[in-house]
Structure formats: C-alpha cells, structure tokens
Amino acid sequence: MKRILLAFAALLASVAVFGQAYTGGVKGEVVNRNGRVAVEGARLTLYQGATELATVVTDAEGNFLIPDLADGMYTLVIDAPDFLETQVQVTVNDGYVKNMFKLSITPTDRVTDVDADSFSEFDMDDSGYNDNPTILFGSNDVFNNIAGYNFSAVRFRARGYASEAQDVYLAGVKLNDAVTGYGPFSLWSGLNEAMRSKETVNGAEVSDFGIGGYNGLTNVFGTASNVRTGLRGSVMTNSALYRLRLMASYATGVMDNGWAFAANVSARLGGNDWIDGVYYRSFAYYLAADKIINREHKLGFVFFATPGQRGAQMASTQEVYDLMGDNMYNANWGYQNGKVRNARVRKTNEPIALLKYDYTPSDEFSASATALFRFGKNGYTALDWFNAQDPRPDYYRNLPSYFYNPDEDYKRLNREKAAEAYMAWKGQDADIVHMNWDRIYQVNQLSEGGRAKYVLQERRTDQRDFNLAGSFKWRPATDLLVNGGASVRINRTEYYQVLDDLLGGTYFVDTDNFAERDFASEPWKYQNDLDYWMNNGQASRILKEGDKYGYDFYAHVQNYNLWASGRYSLGNLSATLAGRIGYNTFWREGLTRKGLFPGQPENAAMAARWNEIGIEPTQESSYGKSDVASYLTYAGKLNVNYVIGGHMRVYANAGYFNDAPHFNQAFLSLRTRNTMVQDLESVKTFSSDLNWQYASPGINIRATGYYTTIMDQSKVMSAYDDLQNAFSNYALSGIDERHYGIELGFKVPTYLVPGLSVQGVLALGRAEYTSTPTMTQTLDNSAKPVSYNGQTVIPVRYWKESPVYKKDALGNYTSRLDHMQQHYVPSTPQVAASIGLSWNYNYWFVDADLEYFDEAYLDMNPLYRTGYAAAGPDGKIYANAEEELTAAGRDTETVRISTNEVEAMATQEKFDPCFLLNLSIGKSFYIQRKYQLGFSFNAKNLLNNTNVKTGGYEQTRMVDNTASKSRYYRFDAKYFYMAGMNYMLNIYFRF
C-alpha cells in the first residue's frame, strides 16, 4: 500500500514538473497534533511564489515525497479533511531531498478537552457505586472522535465496560490506580497542553506500548518534546463545571543543542450554573525537559502535579429533587454564618516525577525505559459524628415520605407531619434543606468540656507508587515487527483518617461509635486504637487538625509483568500475536489494633495484660499483615488485519485475559480487619471484535461488532443496615457479564455545500449480567458474618434476572410467570446515537448534533436481589406462592404474600430515553502567518432537558416492620442528573 501510494505520489509529482530533472525534493510525514498519529490522505500542494508546482497525497502512514525540485524556497500547503489548513516554508539546498520529518496539523474539531476534568466529583457515600465514565479520545477514530465528546455528558462507557478496563499509560507506564484500577486522568487534570499528545487503540487492539486489555489502551506521551512548540494560552469559561480556566504553556521544541523544555500551568476556579456547592480551586503545573544526547540516546524528565480541591455533589432521591424543584440539588453544602460551605471536598496533591530513557541504536531497533514515582496526598472530607443526629438535610427521616405513605402497610400514617415537611422543603428553609453548619457549631460549642460531636474528617488514600517499565521495538525483517517489554510496580497506599476540622469543638475522642453503643460496658471493644488505650488508660483525644484517628492501614500491591507482540505482514494481510504474563500480589497491613478485632497477642506479656483486662483474642485481626493474595496473570491476543484496495480495511481482534482482582474488592471490611473475601478468584475475560473501516479524503467510516464475556468479578460495597443496626459490608463474588453489540461511526461529505459533512455514531449494545453471584454480609462491629435463614454465603438469586408475573384482566398479579427480566450492567446508555452536520470552511467550524440515548439502567444492590429480601420477613419465597399458601391452609387474600413482592424488590430500574441537541462553533484567525487567535463555543443540551439521569444507586437498606409483617420495601434510589443547557467558551492564542 505504502509503495503504491508513494509511487502514485511520485507519478503525480513527476507529471507536475514534467520535463525537468533535479535531485532535490521534500519529504516527510504528516501527523495529527492530537496524538501525533499519521494522517492518511492529506493533500500537499507545493508553490513557488504563486505558481503551483506539485500536489501529492500522503499514504497510510502519513508519508509523502515530492521529488525533482530545484534548489530554492517553496511554500507547502497541507490540507486534509477535518484539519486546519497549514502552510510551511521549505528550502531545498544543494540538490538534497529535504526531510521535514513530522509535520503536524491541527484538527478542526472543537476543543475536545474530554478528560477527568470534564466530570463533576460525585460523592458516592460508601455505596460502592463507581461512576467513572470511559474517556474516549478521538484523535484518529471517527467513532471516538464524535462519541468521546458528545457522549461524555451522559457518562457513556464504551461497550458498557467498566472504566478500569481501559488501560491508561503515561510515558510507557501503565498508570491505572494500583488499588482500584481506576483511570488516572485526574492526576493531570488541567494540564491539557502537556498531555495532549497521545496514542490510542480501541477495544482489544494491540498497542506498541503494551498488549492492553479489552477496552483500549491510551498512551499519553507526556515528555517535553511531545508538547506543542511555542507559547499558548487560553481562557475558558463554562457553565456546567467551573467558571474559569486559565491555562498557559510554553515548549521550545527540540533546540539545536538537543534540549527541549516545556511548561504548562493552569488554574480552574469557581462554581457553575447548575450544581450549588460544587466548586473548583484547582491548580496544575508541569515542567519537563528532554535531552537528545545523540542519535542513540535521549533522556526525558517530567515533574507535574495538580494541587487543589473541588467540592463534590451528592446524589439524592427523586422525592428530594421534586421537593426542591431541581434535579441538580446537592445535599452536601449549607451556609455557615452566611457563607457557602461544602462538607465533601476532594483535596489532592499527588506529584508525579518520571525519568524516561530512549535508546535508538538503529532504524530497526529502539527501546525505552521509564521510572515513575507518584506520591503526595489524596483526601476526601466528610462529616463524622459521635452520638449525634445525622446532619444530612436529605436524611430520610427529614422527608415527607417518612411520615406518610398511602400504602398502610408502611405504617406511615401521619399526614400532618408529612405536610409540615413538605411545606418546609417547598419553602426552601435554608436550615432544613441545606447542611445546617450553624447548628453543628453550636452543638460542639455547647458540648460538655468541648468534646466535638461533629467533626470534619478527611479520608486519605496516600499513594507511594513506584513504577519501572521498559519496552522495545524491533524490526528484524521488513515484514516483521516485534514489540516487548517488562514492568514492575510497587505500591504502598496508606488508608487513614485525619481530623480536618473540629468545627468549633475542642477535642474529639478516637472511639468507634457503633461499637460503643453495642459494647458500652467493655470499653476495650470500642477502641479504634487499642494499644493506645492500654498504654494511656483512655482513648486518644484528637486535639488538633491533621491528627490521625479511626482506621489506619496500608494496602500493599505489587505487580510484575512481561509482554511481547509480533506483527507479521504479508502483502495486504498482517497478523499480530501478543501475550502477557504477570505476577500480582497484594496484602493489607493494619497499623492500629482495633478493639473489636485485636487478633492474637504478640507475646506472653501482652497475653497476660489482655487476660487481666478481659480482652478476648480474635481469629480475625485488624493489626499487622493479612494473608498475601497472589495471582499468576496472563493474557493473549490475536489481531488480523486485511487491507482492501486503497481505503478499506477489515480487521479482527480476539483476546483472553486472566487478571487479578483489585485490592479494594478483596477484603470483607477493609477499614476494620484483614479478612479477605472467601474464594476470591481471578477475573477471566474473553473478548473479540470484527471491524470494517473505510477512510479516504473526507470520508471516514468504521463499523465494529464485538462480543465479550467477563467472569468471576467481585465487588464490595458498604452501607448502614437498618435491619442489623450497624454499618455493613456486602461482599459479592462470582459476577459474570456478557457484552455484545455493534458500533458505527461515520463522517461523509454532503457534496452539496463545500466543507459540509454528515457525521454520526451508533452504539447498539447489550451489557448484561449472566450469573448468580454469592453475597457475604459482615458488620463492622461483629466478627460473625450476617446469617440469612441460617446461611452466611447466600446466593443473590435475582441478580442476573428477575421474574415478571402475568396480570389478570383487572391488572392484579397472578402467580403465573410471564417472563424473566434480564438485568444489565448499569450507569451507561447501551443505545447511543448521534447524527449531525459538520461544516469546516476557511478556519470556521460549525457542528450541530442530535443525540439519542436509551437502555441505561440503575446500579443494583445485592441485598434486594436475595431471596431473603424478596420473600419478606415471613420467609415465603415467590414461587408458587398461592399454592403454598393454600397448602398451608392460609388465607391467600389476607396474607400479603404475592408475586409482586419479588418484582417490587428485585426489578432493575431502567432510565427514560432522551434526546439532546448540541452545537459547536469556532474560528481561528492567523495573524501575520505567525500567530493564531481563536475561539470555540460549545452549547450543550440546547433542548434544556433537565430530566436525564446519568447514574445513581440503590440504597442498601430496606423498610421493615411493616403492618403486614410479610414483606420488605425498598428505600428510594438516589440519582445523578445531567446539567441542563450549558456552554463552554474557550478563547486561545498561540505563538
């Protein structure tokens, strides 16, 4: 293909300069500035003065050659669909072919700063709910280009995969969080210029940086010489997230002395139009230097961080949103002496330092190695209280529904109180509908001796993350390319709490609130730090802010990986085979001894002391090192690629992955003890996709079909359990999923108006649960797992599907099964479509897109899907309920056991479909061919649809003690909504 194109280019050039014979010329590679990937089909026109001399088109790898040029000065104009026209001056000397190397051109699409920055900080309140969307980069893929920007507002996840399945590398180092697997984008939020250059592969494709997983791989280059040369600045305001962003960058490019320097700073400040209490006070800085020592050796050093804080949004129930008349209501904030204060604030300062070495001894072989260290702090504030009322304004006991429900079975009969609550909320009494900081301070001030009843805690997860990764690229023959590498990761993350604010109190005592209630006469049991209590005769009094209290433990995670891939080309056919093998290990190390789980005494003296006090050793321990979980992991991938003609290719990927579970899903109750989830399995994934792609000037189409199965996942979530009156942890094992569907992305010219294209995407998929997992519930203040009907490991029988029963003519449920309703992977639309027009002309761009989203589902909690919950306290299960009752001689009319119980408890909620309309407009101005000034304006959700649910979760608690005593009811679910009509205006300049 390359040869054909080059020959074609040469032919065109030779025709253009027919009759002349010079040895000089121009050659190079045209690349996209976003991602620096090759641009195929770019048209290069060479002028001398006003005379057009030649026109060539780049090949599939972006290469071009214009031969037979006489010495002299030329102007080369590069034009490509979807890119800004670019002009460069070329001088041909001494009859040589001038190598321009990489000529980067800028996409004309909107400023698609889709990164972690683009999503508000959601407060999940220990729900276990994970709301991280997949971040798609659209640099060289028509689907991602459109979906990455347009679908971000609904938190779209490509193919329904969890975001942690997307591998994200920085300078060749895989940087997904060691403990959770989450994408690391927030580490460089606000450093858009520095981190702009990146390379992305989709799905199960193989990358040069690692074999990747099944949800794509993105490598952010991140080093100085990859930052766009020159001085750039931008001022951005938007109405959905933060009011103001100021950003500046400067990069020297590679200078004659071999050095390249780059810097990027930014500030993101203010609130927004939609979510009160959410604000940014975030800064970012980036400093980098590269030194090209010689052709073989290159060193790069990078240091960056994004210190700052941002207020979080809390999900609420629909009742609360309706009372407030606002689906963007945020319960996290309130007035303190008249000033807005948010209780949930993410505070981060996690610097990253990396050193990268590139070795290029020949054109056939190159290698690189990167050492990267992440450190600093990552905190999250939250209110903590001891023997005090729940201060959250939307606590369920503050709402009308707690007092009155027309269904008498709820035993909520007080209409008067419900009316009072309703009036208070509708009246928007600030003391009622927002966090009442003034009361909190007054309680602390009036507390005897100044003991704080409320404090602001900061939950810290401070990482010390060391990574070493090396890779090589070797082309032993023209048709064979071999990549390989190795990586080591040693991570120690400390989980602990510190006192952030005493809120007017004088001190706070380090004890376990729940345990103190249950074991008041055994004071050692409610000590968070038993050793301190024994040594000092009392619990620690946290006197100043910044002091540790509560829990404190290390997560140790170590990964070792080797990988290799080989690509063999035979004519239009190429095949890549890749494999990875690794050893992953992790363990917990408790740094404080919790009174409830002291473990075994370490020596005879300790044993004697415990015996003296009455402390009973426990099998489970909060202190010291847990068992070590070790996993041999492996993965294999096969890619086959076939090029048809000049513009079309068909390729297929298949992969099998055996991955270790993440640390945060491996322990029953991380904050209290070392006990692991039983029978924790590695996660097995099989993934395959088949793709068809067509790319020619102005036309870009990709169609993909995919099929993936994921087996043996585990998950731990936490919540307060009203039935047990304690903080509970639900460990779920054996979650299997199946994902399949099609993706289509296209952009084609209309041929009616110059520069006007039709573009669209369609994601039509199914991501569904396919197994019946098991659940183990533990309480933070008990060693015994919770028993349901005598069992502690119970099947979550309605996890993958739940029964739907037939109704009679009057609409009443019968006991005849109609069908089983499938349950789906939540929090992303499984049907997403966009159709729009894109017009690019003379540095203007205008995009208008209409989008449709459907088949999005609410995250499920496992408790509602147990037979126990669905059956109700009478223990009757759903099947053949009527027959059972009759056999038992019971009155089927009066005993409230009916098939609708299981439906009401186990059904998964589906969100309503929605339409959205977006508009983008922008213009660049070139001033003296030297400076560029431009703007982009994006208006999203022009239909001002404020009823679009983007996610949420079910509360893991049930309404019990009903009048009939035959069934439980759900608590209302909590939701997040998308902002209504919002805009972003970015004004930028480049020198």
Binding site: R243, G270, G271, N272, D276, G277, Y279, R281, G311, W333, Q336, N337, K339, V340, R341, N387, Q389, R397, N398, F403, K411, L413, N414, R415, E416, K417, E420, A421, D429, I432, W437, R439, Y441, Q442, V443, Q445, L446, S447, K453, E516, R517, D518, F519, A520, S521, E522, N789, G790, Q791, Y868, G872, P873, D874, G875, I877, E884, A888, D960, N961, K965
Partner: protein, 410 residues
Amino acid sequence: MKKVFFTLATLVALVSCKELKEEWQPVVTFSYDEARFVPVNMDDEVNTTIAELKALYTNHGTPVVIDTDRTIKGQVVSSDEDGNVYREIYIQDATGGICLKLGRSSSYDDYKIGQVLYVRCEDLCIGEYGYKTGNYGGCGQLQLGLLGDGWQPYLDGETTVQPEYETAYIDLMPIVKKHIFRGEILPESERIATASPAGSALSSADFKDGITNKEVGQLTLLKNVRIGNLDNKYEVFALFYPDPNLDHTKNESWNRIFMSDITAAIGNPAQYPYGITTWALTKTRTEKHIENGDWDDVTMGDDGQDENGNKSLATRYVDPAKFGYEGLYKDVFLAHSSAQSVSHYCTYDGAIVQVRTSGYARFADTELPEGFLKGTMQLDMLGIMSRYQGSAQFILLDAYKAGTTDSVLK
C-alpha cells in the same frame, strides 16, 4: 478610560449577583466565622404552667389537641446521653414535669440539662401512655407531642380503628422549630431541685389513678433503694419478641416471651431470675444468655406453648418452611437478637418501684453491684419518675452508693 470603567462595572455587577457571589465563597474563603448559640427569652409569652397543661387531659383514651395560644416554660431535667431516655426529654417547672416527645435522637446535643425551654403548645397534643383499666391497671403518664399517628382519621370518622398511641413524636425539625425554643442554660444554683417523695406517695391511690399526679414526670432522687419486691424476693420483668418481623399477637403466639419471674429470697445472686444480673441486656449480652442456654427452659407465648405443642425456646420447631431452615426456636431468637429492656423490682421506702432500663443504655451491660444483689447494699437512684399502668416505673439516670456521690453506673 471608558473601557476600563465599563469592564470594572461589569465585573462588579457580576460579583454582586447573589448566586455568582455564593459560588465563589468556598473558592476564596479559607476560614469560616462560627455562629454562636444565642439563647432566647420568651418569659413575656409564658401563660401556662406544666400542671395547668397536664390538667387539660381529663379523659383516658382521648388525646387533647391544644387549640389555644399556650406557652409553657420549663427546665430540661433529663438527658439521653446515656441512652436510657430514648427520643424524649423531660421538662419541669415549679408545678411539675412532663415528657416532651421530641422524637430526635441525641437530643442532649441541643437541649442541655438545666436549659430553659419555651414550648408553644398550640397544635401540640397531650396524650397518655401506659393506661390500663381494671384492678391491676391504672394511669400511665402524660406526654406532650403531636397527635398520634392515625388519630386524625379516627377523630374525623374515617376509620373506626382506634390507633395505639395517643401522641406522636414531634421529630420533624420544621415542627420543632415552630414549637420549641431554647433559652439560657441555668447555673446549678438556679436549677430545679430533685424531688424525693415518700414511698407512700408512690403507692397512693392518687399515684395509681390520678391523671395529673405531680410525682409523675419529675426529676427524682430515691434514697436507700434496695433490690427485690415487697416480699423481699428477686423479681424481674422483660418482654421479648424473638422475630420482630413476625406477628406476635395473632398467628404466631410463640413469638412473645414474658420473662416475668419471682424467685428466691434476696441473698444469693446466683438465684436471680434468668441469670440477668445487669441493668439491662445489650445485643451482645442477650446473645450470650441464649448461647449459654440460660433461657432454654423459658416458655413461649401466652399459653406456654406454640401451635405444635412446643413449650420452650430450646425445642425444635416442626415447620421448617416457616423460617426457610430447620432449627430451634432459640436460633430464631439468636438470628434476630437485639438489645432488650429489663425491669428490676426494687423497694423504696416501703413502695415498690420498677427500675426499667433500656438495652441501648450505655450502662445496660453494667452488673448490678454485688452487695446490692446480696441485699447488703442500698443505692440512691437519680432519675425520672414515670408511671405505667398505675405503677411506679423509674427511668434511671444515675445511681450511687447510698449516701455518697459514687456512681455505680460509670
């Protein structure tokens, strides 16, 4: 210059916008001012004493919704800090005390002992809790709260089923704000003195049947209390519903267990009924008793047996479908175990007093002092005198070795 002025004016206009100004507050505010508590004084508004208020309640079973402008003033005399007064506070003036059904947990954070409270009573309700007719019955105690759940439909004739409780918790903050106002916290010297009624007052006819009896609802110090009933025998009372989610009044007769026993004469703590030697039973203590088999012989239900003829907790039930698994009744008890209240019968100045303690009290698991159990030690008990079915029921706030201030609860 004009441009500069215009720009500045625009900026000023922007930051003057309330919403825009507010969104920048957390961005630029590095410390917050603290709001201080400011007590109110509504003495001019007070027009009713607590005794006058209680006197409005005249007929058992008929809660009284106050429909006139009445404001009372009282001092807080109880605290729920130790967990033995649950979601209620007692306020008292010179004429008597009353239970205020506040309904909010940890109310001692907001309402301090010795703090003056003003209560605007209009639209609140006075009702009675614990009344029972007949020879073995008597008055309960009066409570100030909202009209009980379901009463309005009953009074409106929408239903003929009389609701169980005459008053409901005020609990909802908007209603609390409308009715209850916090005044100053009085120094010790200005606080209401504890009452120490004679034993005869607690066994009098007025105590049993007088709705507005003054002793009820007051902060009281009972001196020289001894364990045991008037016959000098150990006596205890507790009522359990092993599975709180199952019926206990109709179909599931087994699901109600009275631990009401009178055993040997005072002297040997080992003979204390059911092995209960703590003030009450936390969940942990309850489980220990069940696991130790202390209650295996306890009979179930009103008639001492379930529908299958089983009589005690240690028997195996024959209907596994009932619970989804097979086992002993005590397994059901254990599966749903929770904290349990206990009443110890004590004698004060010749009168019998039930000292009732919640299983959620912080001293629930504290052992009764050995000397007290043996009958060789007496205690001074500080608490609220309440009444249930005509009998004195004492809500313990603290207890001391008689004649001292040495607490046996802390």
